[in-house]
Amino acid sequence: MTDKVVIKAEGLTKQFGDFVATDHVTFEVHEGEIFGFLGANGAGKTTAMRMLCGLSQPSAGKASVAGFDVATQHEQVKRHIGYMSQKFALYDDLTVEENLTFFGGIYGMSPKKVKEKITDLLTELGFESERKTMVKSLPLGWKQKLAFSLAIFHDPRIVFLDEPTGGVDPVTRRQFWELIYQAADRGITVFVTTHYMDEAEYCDRVSIMVDGKIEALDSPANLKRQFNGNSMYDVFYALARTAKRGD
């Protein structure tokens, strides 16, 4: 982890009519950091993340990702990020290899490099036998691992993960976090939302959103001290129960 700031949000706001989904959020994320982005359902996490990924225009405030403004230079932002959405979003009717080739190609990687990387990746994941398998017939845990590998396939500077381990068994979740650590070791900044408090402990720093605002932001150890809790669960509970909006 370095001191270099790769994500910087200043008063970032998204309003839908009268509803302020994300309300003047300010934070910084450093290069190589694993940044946990926590909050109850409906707290505004996904909205904030979509703005940072250049999918959604901020209503007010500013944010830059990898040095580019998310409001005006969103297509440049997209060159430097990877994204894994809440919903599984690979092509069901393409094989593992075809999905990887497709996204690699879209990011402008050379066919030779794509080929090499696919072989490396599949060997690493122990996926070699599934190379020609249609993605729809993979089990969920494998799908999630594949989706993550795909999100970092083009070596982005930052990867955004929106509840990547939802519905996945504990063993697979563990393996998944190993992948995240490997990515962080390679210098990829990880920005992750989760509802699992044990996962929050794995993060370098954690922010907790309540009703569209960031109410706490620090390392898990400091947060526990600040809120007098034994675990991140206590911290989260102390904050989240003040929330007025639910699903």
């Binding site: 999918l55 969103h74 994204y83 497709f102 190609g105 402008g108």
Partner: protein
């Protein structure tokens, strides 16, 4: 534009891996070309009639015979009175009641004139009208025949002898088939793109595309090009079917048929994609597309001629791309019109294409 190659590979793979689509590409043209020209006929045939012959003479039964052997009328029943026949008409069994007056033969010989009363069921106006004019013609012919037999010096009435240009047998098929090709295209190349982008929205895969730096033009092109190739295949396949099944071939140039259809395919695939871009889910896209297709078909001149529409409706048809292609196709197929004669169809179609495709690209939002 490097990404376009990868996008296209993906689209084609998905298209041919779909269990239904390749079958539809073959079956729909076969159904349209084989079945529709036979069933969607505007010729009026097999009209059922009941005859009330009050005369029972040689001449009156000859008239009945004459009518039923014409090919247009079936003698459904011979009734004894009007009430009996009227009941049949009310039940919908017959369309015409022919009442031959008492003393029909006697009056004919004596005065040279006799009366036949015709009652027409006009629920279906066109059927009634056409049937009535056939009937009048047959009765007139019969009258003339009788006059000649009787050796009467007939004042030869003026006879109109029509000469039908471009479709000498006034066959319905050569008129319908070129329009049906355009119809098949709108169903496949218009409808399927309308379900495409929105399908990716539903599956969530569009998010994964939207976070990549892929360009909007490339993305929309990758959605259109596969349908262009499908469309061109459908035109060729339908033309072959029309030729093999019905012997209908264009009187004009075949490249010209393709030129017009390529532009038309461009127009409707753009329209479909535009609708898809605005829709939230496939159901919505399908309903909106359905609405457009119904309006397009009804105002295209496919069924009822544009020239007989009210003035305001004629103006509305100018917004309809189907109108231009159907006119152009019929002109090429039947009259053998050349490009310069069809420029008035060509220019609006091109304009339409430019507007629709620009719209399709603009309405695709990677950031909102």
């Amino acid at each position: 534009m490097k990404a376009l190659k990868y996008l296209l590979v993906k689209e084609y793979k998905q298209m041919f891996r779909n269990r239904l689509l390749p079958i539809i590409f073959i079956l729909l043209p076969v159904a349209m070309m084989n079945m529709v020209p036979r069933v969607a006929t505007q010729e009026v045939k097999n009209l059922n009639m009941a005859v009330i012959d009050c005369d029972h003479s040689t001449l009156s039964s000859r008239l009945t015979q004459k009518l039923s052997s014409s090919g247009f009328f079936n003698l459904y029943a011979t009734c004894n009175n009007y009430k009996e026949a009227y009941d049949l008409l009310e039940r919908g069994d017959i369309d015409f009641i022919i009442t031959i007056e008492d003393n029909f033969e006697k009056n004919l010989y004596r005065t040279g004139g006799a009366q036949v009363m015709v009652t027409v069921n006009a629920v279906n106006g066109m059927k009634g009208g056409l049937g009535n004019s056939y009937l009048t013609q047959i009765v007139m012919q019969y009258a003339q025949e009788l006059n000649i037999e009787a050796g009467l010096s007939v004042k030869r009435p003026v006879k109109v002898e029509p000469r039908y240009l471009f479709n000498p047998t006034i066959d319905y098929k050569p008129y319908m088939i070129p329009a049906l090709i355009a119809m098949t295209l709108v169903l496949l190349v218009g409808f399927l793109p309308a379900l495409n982008v929105v399908g990716e929205k539903e599956r969530g895969t569009i998010e994964q595309i939207n976070v990549t730096p892929v360009g909007r033009i490339e993305f929309i092109l990758s959605k259109m090009i596969p349908y262009w190739s499908v469309g061109i295949f459908i035109v060729a396949f339908s033309m072959i079917l029309a030729w093999k099944i019905h012997g209908v071939v264009p009187a004009g140039s075949i490249p010209l048929v393709f030129l017009f259809n390529v532009i038309y395919i461009f127009v409707i695939s753009s329209l479909g994609l535009t609708i898809s871009n605005y829709s939230e889910n496939m159901r919505q896209a399908a309903i909106v597309m359905f609405f457009f297709i119904v309006i397009f078909i009804l105002t295209s001149g496919l069924i009822s001629p544009i020239s007989s529409m009210p003035d305001w409706a004629k103006e509305v048809t100018r917004l309809n791309p189907l109108r231009y292609i159907i006119t152009a196709m019929r002109e090429i197929y039947l009259k053998g019109s050349t490009f310069s004669q069809l420029i008035t169809q060509f220019v609006p179609l091109c304009l339409y294409g430019i507007i629709a495709s620009t719209w399709a690209i603009i309405s695709f939002q990677k950031n909102n």
